[in-house]
Amino acid sequence: MNWLMNYLAGIPAPLQIGFGGLFALLVIGSILAVVLPKFKPGKWDDLKPRMQSWWVMCGLLIGALLLGWQAFTILFMYISYIALKEYLTLAPTRKEDRGVVLFAYLMVLVSYGAIWIDNYMFFLVTIPVYVFLASAVMMALTKRTDGYLATIGILQWGLIVCVFNLGHVAFLMRTPEAEVPMAGAAGLVFFLIFVTQFNDMAQYMWGKIFGRHKISPNISPNKTWEGAIGGFATTGVLFVVLAPYFTPLTFWPSVWIGATLPVLGFFGDITMSAIKRDLGVKDTSRLIPGHGGALDRLDSLMFTAPWYFHMLAYFALDRF
């Protein structure tokens, strides 16, 4: 047990408290998932699978963060693959495109390979430039022209959000520890994911309690102005209060990111809703019990990850 205590003591204090807080939230949620259905049968039935899935997701995330950048890069490579596969399963493709789709999956490996060898320039040009060009020419060589432009657009949109954008989360783990003395690179990543998921939940809660005016009823009927603004404010305040413990940001930059990041999360959410509406599905798959598909859970992060990354790079990190 001694080595375990030493190991835990070696984790930066903000992360210890962060993981502890998350654990407490999971315990409270799980107790509610057992108790609430007893008071109002039927209304809270999906809370139990939802909480069980949260345990698994938090366990994977914290486990990979503690193991270091190698484990985290592998985890996110797999997550990018799952997300891309889920997207390409639903989005229209043609019989001739199977080869190009397989190529797209292989490029997940190449993109994360750039993160593995810590080469930022390589990462920047892989998906948005060369995979972009190569996939276009490969699809042209299949010789089928009807639906060409629509299909290549569909494929490339998926590669950007699922592989390039999510890749930024994994690349943050390569931040040199000297630049982030507060909680290390793991602290930066934990803070991004925590704030993004907290923002989703805060908007949902505010909307549930005060929601009156719908933002865009034909895309996402549950989104209200009250929910969005209440959620933005709550998340923004949380971000500014916690930023000094997890990031090297000074006060005014943290106010700027705290004000903008929740809006980006909302944009990610509503963009995925528009895609789901177009494809005629409610959830993107049944992968995560109580939540839906991987894309349902990752939609906000696909938008917040690059923004958080670039804002940190601009205001605080020399590495990027």
Binding site: K85, L88, T89, L90, R94, L102, Y105, L279, G280
Partner: protein
């Protein structure tokens, strides 16, 4: 020994491949049989249909699950034959011998009498990707022989996209398996006449077609 070998391969290789590499959503898992004799009947578009169906069953039931396949296809080469028998646990049907007076379903009947769960593709062939062919009567003949055994209909979507007939390239896409309520020969009010078999087959095919409506939309052409 052979039994445990097959079970281990199916649990540690087949199931992770089906769920983690290809991706599988299951609807109506509670309708699956947990003991034999029973039949699971599904539409057939791809070799990975067998992989998908095997990965649906719990580890406890798996040793009793026996897919039925065409001998002329699966016993073609030595390696294929070994894999079919010892890893997939396949019961071969010598469909080329039909009309010779030999009972092609003899092995299937023995297995069912032994309490096994048969996995059958009533189309008898993989056919065109994501389209259903006419059903052969083998399932109905087995159901008539075991009138109380449940015949569970399963609709598989997307396997023809992962690996269509004639392609050696496996391209991962999520698949969906929709499992329906089992039907029984004894519930069909059958009187043992020949036409009853066609009625049973028609009913089974309609049921599987109806299950396809519960699968998510798939746009692929």
């Amino acid at each position: 020994m052979k039994k445990y070998f097959r079970q281990a391969i199916q649990i540690f290789i087949a199931r992770p491949v089906a769920h983690l590499l290809i991706g599988l959503d299951v609807i109506g898992k509670e309708h699956l049989p947990t003991e034999g004799p029973a039949i699971v009947a599904a539409n057939h578009n791809s070799h990975i249909d067998t992989l998908i169906l095997l990965s649906l069953f719990s580890s406890r039931v798996l040793p009793d699950v026996r897919p039925v396949g065409a001998a002329d296809h699966f016993l073609r080469t030595r390696t294929l034959s070994w894999v079919s028998r010892y890893i997939i646990g396949m019961i071969p049907i010598h469909r080329k011998n039909s009309g010779s007076g030999e009972d092609l379903l003899a092995d299937c009947k023995t297995a069912m009498a032994d309490g096994k769960i048969l996995v059958i593709f009533p189309e008898g062939t993989r056919g065109e990707a994501e389209e259903m062919e006419d059903f052969k009567t083998g399932v109905a003949r087995l159901a008539a022989e075991f009138p109380d055994a449940p015949v569970t209909p399963v609709y598989i979507q997307g396997a023809g996209r992962v690996m269509p007939r004639g392609s050696k390239l496996l391209v991962p896409f999520n698949c969906t398996a929709v499992i329906g309520k089992p039907i029984r020969w004894s519930d069909e009010g059958a009187d043992g006449q020949g036409s009853e078999k066609y009625k049973f087959m028609k009913n089974l095919k309609t049921t599987i077609k109806e299950l396809s409506q519960d699968a998510p939309p798939m746009q692929w052409d």
